[in-house]
């Protein structure tokens, strides 16, 4: 009955089919096959990644919940926990940018509030093709307004993120959304169906035919052919989600339910089987009771629909009425659609007829894991040595060119579309090294950032991944926050290609090593494979989401220069490193060389020093050096305050001037301090064995850099600022 063609359509191999038949003891019917196909898809089953992800450190004294739930949970003291996670919505955002991105936000929000936490912050990591192509611009416009449209209306601030541009994302943009929620430690909920006889309630939007096989779509390469079998794209309904959020938090707060799970990828199938499996129970569901948007839906369609804004609850029979009353208050129905039973089977019926009868464990926990073949490229992707490069004639010109590069330019065009202040916690608005949120009623604050330079990972996935962790932590250190936990989104190409699998392994190794070095647990994440379009893979793109904590918010430091006459101090060393830099890409049109080297021990020392110096009150501003190197970092410090302040810098390093200005050597931080504090700062640095040198002074209306007596840069701050600020908006001006 089930032939090869049907299996292919479901993305299952004959071997996997054999396993399924063995586990259920007979041939599955089509609906059951559909269930296995989504639950055993790459997206849900982590077939290719699972054995590698095991290498990530997941333990730590704050960890309340590591990977394996909807989101990770960390203890932040005072009876409170944070719940956070990152998700990708790459393919849907290419097909329908607005709705794809919007429903991406909706999905990650549900992952957070399903655990009992109120979402308090969203961050987004976006990758597009270059904005000079109108197609890329329209994807970007749609994605940004989709994130805004959803997040803004539901009232969760989008407080930070990142945007990169590279041609490798032309046909495959990346939309990764991170969300963090806050909860009381004794009010956490899990996706568990416990207690035989307990009722299963369905809440939220009606089930339609949308997004059937979204999970399988996210588990296949994209090409001309898939364009035709595009499933119905889901449309987000943020208002419905807001009702759902409030009602769910209310029933949880009042202790009315036993377990709860959102319906994300694979919809009703995933939520019912997962909840049953986690509770070690079985479940019966009557599909006639499932609210349906369209007439005549088959069990296959009802079970595999990915309609948005739906949740599944489990409550004891006595509490059902009370739960329904809360939902009614929020204008939502909460029909009982089934029951928790003994026996570990999911038994689903429609019109009195059993249409599915399978062991939940097989569906949820027994998806095979593969060690896919991997193969390093014959030679390093970036070549072994850089070609001889001519030194620029005019450094001011090069500098302006970099400031105008979309990856470096001001991202205000993006974030001013996001409500980043709602909930009145946002202390550092987008534009700082990390977002900073106060916690009401305490002195503590949370900092968070997303990072990942895929140019580095393309050239050397392992080093690139380590740098992503290091840089994210450095961003936190610059504002005075200690990192406490990590989530990550691993965006890669087709894992069936050995080179892609090699990139993945290397990147995970790098992540694991770096997280160990910083002693931060990975509490969850997401893997997005098959980011290939028409045979081309994206650059491997691990995106790190790292959360930090500050004990005293009043000590937080922002990147902008604070006043004229402060000393500019450079932490770290300038090395002859240009590989993978934005300078090479923009000015020399080269994606080549090896990425900057990273020594995790040294990096950690520098960050510790930064944190201690901030703690001691010695630092007036701090900013890490990243894309565009020293020159761009100086500019960002000059631009960031409400009043722009210039600086004059003099350096003696014996390296190429272009490397000095624009090289991206790691572990460097640019600080300012009051003159009177310089000696103390230096003394602290000496004790910590951290190179720290005064390189100049803030003040004036220019950014001026001198190298061994030669003036390299001399630009009015205002001019540089305009170039940096206008670069992105200029792409979006409608020309008449």
């Amino acid at each position: 009955m089930i032939d090869k063609k049907t299996l292919d359509q479901h993305g299952l191999t004959e071997g996997e089919y054999g396993l399924i038949v063995g586990m259920i003891g007979r041939e599955p019917n089509l609906t059951e096959l559909g269930i296995f196909s989504v639950m055993w898809s790459e997206h849900c089953g982590y077939k290719s990644s699972r054995i590698h992800l095991k290498k990530l450190p997941t333990e730590g004294k704050r960890v309340v919940q590591g990977p394996g739930e909807n989101a990770g949970i960390l203890d932040i003291g005072d009876g409170q926990v944070i719940v956070f996670k990152i998700e990708s919505h790459n393919h849907p955002s290419y097909i329908e940018p607005y709705q794809g991105a919007a429903t991406g936000v909706g999905g990650i929000l549900r992952d957070i509030f399903t655990m009992g936490a109120r979402p308090i912050a969203v961050l987004d990591s976006l990758r597009f093709g270059p904005p000079d192509d109108p197609k890329n611009r329209s994807v970007m416009e749609g994605v940004v307004s989709g994130i805004a449209g959803y997040g803004n209306s539901i009232g969760v601030p989008t407080v930070g993120g990142e945007v990169y541009f590279n041609p490798c994302y032309n046909l495959n943009p990346l939309v990764n959304v991170f969300c963090l929620g806050l909860a009381d430690k004794d009010k956490i909920f899990y996706a568990k169906a416990e207690g035989s006889g307990n009722k299963v309630l369905y809440v939220g939007a009606k089930t339609g035919r949308d997004g059937i096989h979204g999970a399988t779509m996210a588990s296949a390469e994209f090409g001309k052919e898939t364009e035709h079998k595009r499933p119905n794209v889901q449309v987000g309904d943020p208002f419905k989600e807001k009702l759902l959020l409030e009602a769910c938090l209310e029933v949880m707060d009042r202790g009315l339910i036993v377990g709860i799970q959102d319906m994300g990828a694979a919809g009703l199938t995933c939520s019912t089987t997962e909840m049953a499996a986690k509770g070690g129970m079985g479940i019966v569901v009557d599909l006639d009771k499932v609210p349906q948007r369209e007439a005549g839906m088959t069990p296959y369609e009802i079970l595999l629909s990915e309609s948005q804004e739906r949740m599944l609850l489990v409550a004891t029979p006595e509490k059902v009425r009370a739960v329904q009353a809360v939902f009614a208050k929020w204008d939502l129905d909460a029909p009982v659609i089934g029951e928790v039973v003994e026996g570990g089977r999911a038994r689903i019926s429609l019109k009195g007829e059993v249409v599915v009868d399978i062991p939940v464990d097989a569906v949820v926990n027994l998806c095979p894991a593969y060690r896919r073949p991997s193969q390093a490229p014959a030679a390093p992707v970036g070549g072994t040595a850089l070609p001889a490069l001519l030194l620029p004639q005019d450094y001011d010109d090069v500098f302006l060119k970099l400031l105008a590069s979309p990856t470096i330019a001001d991202k205000e065009w993006v974030f001013r579309q996001y409500d980043h202040m709602v909930q009145v916690n946002t202390v550092f608005l987008p534009g700082a090294d990390a977002a900073l949120l106060r916690i009401k009623g305490s002195k503590k604050a949370l900092a968070m950032t997303l990072d990942g330079n895929s140019l580095y990972t393309q050239l050397d996935p392992k080093t690139g991944a380590k740098i992503a962790v290091a840089e994210a932590c450095r961003n936190l250190a610059c504002i005075g926050a200690r990192p406490i936990g990590v989530t990550n989104c691993l965006n890669f190409g087709n894992p069936e290609k050995p080179e892609v699998m090699w990139q993945f392994e290397q990147a995970v190794d790098g992540l694991a090593e770096a997280c160990r070095a910083f002693d931060i647990p990975v509490t969850g994440g997401n893997v997005s494979f098959y980011n290939d379009t028409e045979g081309l893979s994206i650059h491997p793109t691990p995106v790190l989401g790292i959360v930090g904590i500050l004990d005293d918010i009043r000590k937080a430091v922002s990147p902008g220069f604070k006043a004229a006459g402060d000393v500019v101090v450079l932490i770290g060393e300038n090395r002859e490193e240009l590989g993978g830099s934005e300078y090479l890409r923009v000015v020399h049109d080269l994606e080549a060389g090896a990425p900057p080297s990273i020594d995790l021990e040294r990096e950690k020392r520098h960050q510790e020093f930064c944190l201690d110096a901030i703690e001691a009150g010695l630092v007036r501003s701090a900013h890490d050096l990243s894309e565009g190197g020293l020159a761009v970092a100086l500019a960002e410090c000059a631009f960031h305050g409400r009043k722009k302040i210039g600086c004059s810098i003099a350096l003696e390093d014996s390296i190429r001037p272009d490397t000095l200005l624009f090289g991206e050597t790691q572990s460097r931080i640019l600080m300012t301090c009051r003159k009177k504090d310089l000696d103390n700062l230096r003394e602290l640095a000496r004790r910590k064995e951290v190179p720290a040198r005064a390189v100049g002074e803030t003040g004036g209306t220019e950014i001026a850099v001198e190298h061994r007596g030669r003036k390299l840069l001399r630009l009015p701050v205002e001019k540089a600022f305009q170039v940096w600020k206008d670069a992105l908006p200029n792409f979006f001006k409608v020309r008449i």
Binding site: I95, E96, Q99, A205, G208, R209, D210, R230, N232, V233, Q234, V235, G236, D237, F239, K240, R293, E294, S307, Q308, D331
Partner: protein
């Protein structure tokens, strides 16, 4: 010539806007309204176009700019001129 293009979600796609309007109308006592779908309408003034030209042009514009064919459908007609 003036043409009118109606763009709306395909029938199988959720229409949250229409749904909220419907719910509001019910609350206000207009129970007779069984369903609401909401869409967009564009009126384009085309200069010196013939009917034939419009027939080529309008669907092209609708598909490329006004509607996303993945989730939306459109319909058009000439409302002034010929």
């Amino acid at each position: 010539m003036k043409v009118r293009i109606l763009v709306s979600f395909k029938d199988s796609v959720l229409d949250p806007q229409g749904q909220t309007v419907k719910n509001a109308l019910h609350t206000m006592g207009y129970g007779v309204v069984k369903d609401v779908r909401q869409g967009k309408v564009f009126e384009l003034e085309l200069e010196g176009a013939t009917k034939k030209e419009a027939e080529a042009l309008v669907p092209e514009i609708a598909r490329r700019v006004l509607a996303n064919p993945i989730i939306e459908k459109f319909d058009w007609q000439i409302i002034k001129g010929r």
